[in-house]
Symmetry: C2
Subunit: 320 residues, 2 copies
């Protein structure tokens, strides 16, 4: 079965395997498509031996930025989908779970957050969530890839709506450098909405970066960072936890939520605070003012509620 036989069945691009990828579909010595014709399949050495596939209605955008391949497609049942380097970043149907949890887990745990920094998060969804907090006066976002911002504004208006908030300042650049240059103790919260720790985002999971975050936070300030899946990357998580324990002298917690279109269906978060006023992530003290948000006719919260947040902050006790 030659490659052209499979690819001829669809106008959908065959995902270029990364070096070392075992796409499980080699045949007669040749690498063939591992994509079900007409479907997008997410295959990676980060989650070998399994693949989640979405049926594709139409490809809406394909481009190559200075940093990565960027694609948007209309799926049959998950709305529009943003893909970076072959990995699903968000779908319209389930993005609420990730964006709401990565934002409100930290922000609802401290009183009166005023200055917030978002690293990554170019789609704008975290901004949308931060903006629900009326105490917030200023939101910096540092995203390395302008194409992600532009594509999101065009194709995901309900996500990129976060950029319309007047409190937001967008910085296109390297988050590591931005944090190094940041004023000491200036932020109440730093949210790191990054891609996986292989490739451009790798530095965002290392100790020097966490040290920069801690330095930029006020005493008792909080960080929340994307921290992989307990089912797939326990060894990576253990490394992140170890790094965080060394750097953050307040509390260090691991939480997670369900996102169907992420590998294994879950994604975790590291929740850390700096030395200073105690932060108890399991007992959030700063609820979102839902009524206030309704008045401003914001898109309603879909996933987060205080009870659920409490439930999803799991101690790292299980030994999967």
């Amino acid at each position: 079965m030659a490659q052209q036989n499979l690819t001829a069945a669809t106008d959908f691009p065959v995902k270029k395997p990364r070096e070392g990828d075992d796409n499980g579909a080699t045949n007669g010595g040749g690498t063939i498509s591992s994509v079900i014709p007409g479907w997008f399949s997410e295959i990676s050495t980060m989650w070998p031996g399994e693949a989640h596939s979405l049926k594709v209605e139409k490809i809406l955008f394909q481009g190559k930025s200075d940093y990565q391949d960027v694609m948007v497609f209309q799926s049959a049942t998950y709305g529009k989908v943003l893909v970076l380097d072959g990995v699903i970043q968000l779908t319209e149907r389930d993005e609420c779970s990730y964006q709401e949890m990565i934002t409100h887990l930290p922000l609802c745990s401290i009183p009166n957050p005023k200055k917030v920094l978002v690293i990554g998060g170019g789609d704008g969804g975290v901004l949308r969530e931060v903006a629900r907090h009326s105490s917030v006066e200023h939101i910096d976002i540092c995203e390395i890839d302008k194409m992600v911002v532009d594509v999101s504004k065009e194709h995901f208006p309900d996500v990129a709506v976060g950029y319309e908030d007047p409190r937001v300042t967008l910085h296109i650049g390297d988050g590591v450098a931005f944090l190094k240059a940041a004023q000491e103790g200036i932020y109440d919260a730093v949210i790191v909405d990054s891609s996986d720790p292989i490739g451009p985002a790798q530095e965002l999971f290392e100790k020097p970066f966490f040290e920069s975050v801690a330095k930029a936070l006020r005493p008792g300030g909080v960080m929340c960072t994307q921290a992989e899946s307990i089912w797939l990357h326990m060894h990576i998580i253990e490394g992140i936890v170890e790094n965080c324990r060394q750097v953050f002298k307040g509390s260090v917690n691991y939480a997670w939520t369900t996102v169907p279109t992420y590998p294994s269906g879950v994604i975790g978060f590291m929740l850390c605070s700096t030395e200073g006023p105690e932060v108890d992530f399991k007992n959030p003290i700063n609820p979102i003012d839902v009524k206030e948000n309704q008045k401003k006719s914001t898109i309603p919260l879909k996933f987060y509620n205080q009870e659920l947040a409490l439930q999803l902050i799991a101690a790292l006790k299980h030994n999967i």
Copy 2:
């Protein structure tokens, strides 16, 4: 691309689409394999437009019982996999999450459970978990399909180990009929480990069945039943919740856990109690005696811990 081209690449059987299945892989008017060569893909009208695939190393068993197609394969990264009618029931890697949660959420919520009934659960995993509770004196299991029991004993010894407990009595038969004939008020807990509510398990999600369960439970007894995914089947869940609220006059809760190989990566549970001594599922009062279990050199708990259980009992507040 003719069907034989795709199937020739593997000795893996092409999943027979159910009537109405849109497998997204039609080409030139013919229905072709929806399986990535060498992979098992789970495609169903229950979760249209998405598919989870596992790389297959070897097919270990294929059979057709009086009720369903039964298959076992060795996967590349999830251990052995049990498939019924094309739907993954368990994998060795992630079965712990489902079995432990469906069992200990109810049993840790009542004092001193003695008599437990399992409906379905032919693989024996729920039995293994019930057996961890030293207060339990008798465990009935009613499984309709003997082939599932036999295949599990042969291929999943760490799951079917539950049958070795001397407190277990296996009844091969219809769970609905078994419950109708059961003595009133005899069980402390009934656990319904069923497949999806389309096909043979449909009755297990309907009001008359819940009435039989409630009747067989003692006052303040508990039921836990598989109750689908909040991401995929909110309308089904709402129906189940409504049925349960009418039948169970104690408490009615919805909980869920993460299972990577189930569609959308999560599976839910209905947790209900009958009128009588109050049951607070959110504050389990009957912890598993881990030391006692260690003495008996039982396979250790992998997923459940009391803190996590607490976290996963979610009120149905979100409006996904």
